[in-house]
Amino acid sequence: MKPLRASVIPNRWLPYVLLAPLFAFLAVFFLVPLAEVVWLSISDPALGLGHYVKVLADPYYRRVTIDTMGTALFVTTLCVLLAYPLAYVIAEIGGAVGAVLLMLVAMSFWTSFLVRTYAWMIILGNRGPVSTALHALGWDPPPLLLFTRFSAVVALVHILLPIMVMAIYAVMRKIDLNTMKAAASLGATPFAAFRQVYLPLTAAGIVSGSTIVFVLCIGFYVTPVLIGSPREQMISGVIGQQIEEFLAFGEASTMAIVLLAVTVVILSVYHRYFGLDRLWG
């Protein structure tokens, strides 16, 4: 049976008419400001590619870029190592423990970045529990933990961890544990069965999770700015600083475009091999 519909709008135009409001809206309020960033990067204050030469060649900018990538890589690796056992417990051991852990992860995921950053400022602050404990253990005066790369990494790992857990868990829950039994019956030790059967089956989750976490990490603004070292800023922090303190829109835009380019390249590689639609589940 053919669907009945109003005859005012010809059928083949209908999807375009339905899409027009959102399309026009995104064009005017998303694509134009984005294009503005590109334009600023080559035109402020004078037309040319000077900012790109500077951002790519200047030792300061190069260090910021390398620092950002290095931090993001480190954070991503830590996230994989921490998320894997947690996802395993939720997916394979399950029961009441699994349900509670899943709930904690979800709750953390839905808590604002800002709130979680602030919590780490309390925990790692000089009157917080960690300093008190180190002091009690005889470390006097206790080390400064806040506003260092260490505190930035801890907070970033904490904030991005739930995403990694979700990505790995989504793959783990679909694995048939009989494959492990089959491996065992063929003489594999539990570790060999895990390494040769289970781990490869979860690789897709690790790749998806790492892609999202890495991309989010290099673009993260709030947390590194608040809790990280002011002397070792990440790209996004430098962008913000260029605008707020120096009103240097050209340089800020150039950094922003470099950041966007890196993001797009990583996601394109992912898309080529896995398909972006899988990233959003």
Partner: protein
């Protein structure tokens, strides 16, 4: 192997849950510093928060902006979701990609763009400006949620209504919308919370006049260690509980759609 995973997994979960159990007690602390554990408990910081217009103002602003963003997002996204789920047309793949780009572009990049673009349009430090920006950023999630609900919808209900003489719009409001109300509710809640929580773009474009709660918190954290921030955090966290219910509903919806 299993035991190792269990122990490590539980330890990691404690790390994950830790901050929630820090911020809530902190907001009831009697201390003026960020001392933890607090020396005593009381509600003085809450009293202070709600008597301070520089905190209550942003709280109200956040609600206004999130509500406006939600309405705008839903109006834009709903017809688009219908088009994408129910129709096959030229350029569908391209448009699908375009609709999801706000998920890809880092917020700091958009913050730079909005800062200069909205300055020219005189939209900086206005409710409308922040709502427009937030509607762009929230649209992909709202769109995906409605599209997911729509995929599981049995069109025969609509056809029945239309064969009984209901025009498409009437069929939508009388049949489709009530059946899919959970998808719409979840989508709306996600848009609301996304806007309520959004920090980076709001930092650059909300300014002093329409500062949102996250913007006010960010500035306060940068300035000094004020325990009143814990109250703001707890309020922001309270919003999480609402989303949480929404997320549960979404999962429930997904399972129903799969059947």
């Amino acid at each position: 192997m299993r035991t190792t995973f269990l122990i490590v997994g539980v330890l990691v979960a404690i790390f994950v849950a830790l901050p929630i159990f820090i911020v809530l007690p902190m907001s009831f602390s009697t201390s003026l510093s960020l001392e933890f554990p607090p020396p005593g408990y009381g509600i003085r910081h809450y009293v202070q928060f709600f008597h301070d217009p520089t905190w209550v103002g942003p709280l109200v602003n956040s609600f206004v902006i999130a509500a406006g963003t939600t309405v705008l997002t839903m109006l834009l996204v709903t017809p688009a979701a219908f088009a994408m789920v129910r129709h096959d047309f030229r350029g569908r793949g391209f448009i699908n990609l375009l609709l999801l780009t706000p998920l890809i572009v880092p917020h700091i990049v958009m913050a730079v763009g909005y800062f200069t673009y909205f300055a020219r349009l005189h939209l900086l430090q206005t409710y409308v400006g922040v709502m427009l920006a937030h509607a762009c950023l929230t649209s992909p999630v709202a769109f995906l949620t409605i599209a997911a609900g729509l995929k599981g919808f049995d069109r025969n209900y609509e056809r029945a209504a239309q064969s009984l003489g209901a025009p498409p719009l009437v069929a939508f409001f009388v049949v489709t919308f009530p059946i899919l109300r959970i998808a719409f509710l979840v989508s709306g809640l996600l848009a609301f919370v996304h806007s309520f929580d959004e920090t980076t773009v709001a930092l650059f474009i909300s300014g002093r006049d329409v500062a949102t709660l996250p913007k006010r918190m960010f500035d306060a954290i940068r300035l000094q260690a004020d325990p009143v921030i814990s109250v703001a955090s707890s309020l922001l966290f309270g919003v999480v509980l609402i989303v949480f219910a929404a997320a549960m509903l979404r999962q429930y919806l997904g399972q129903r759609g799969a059947r």
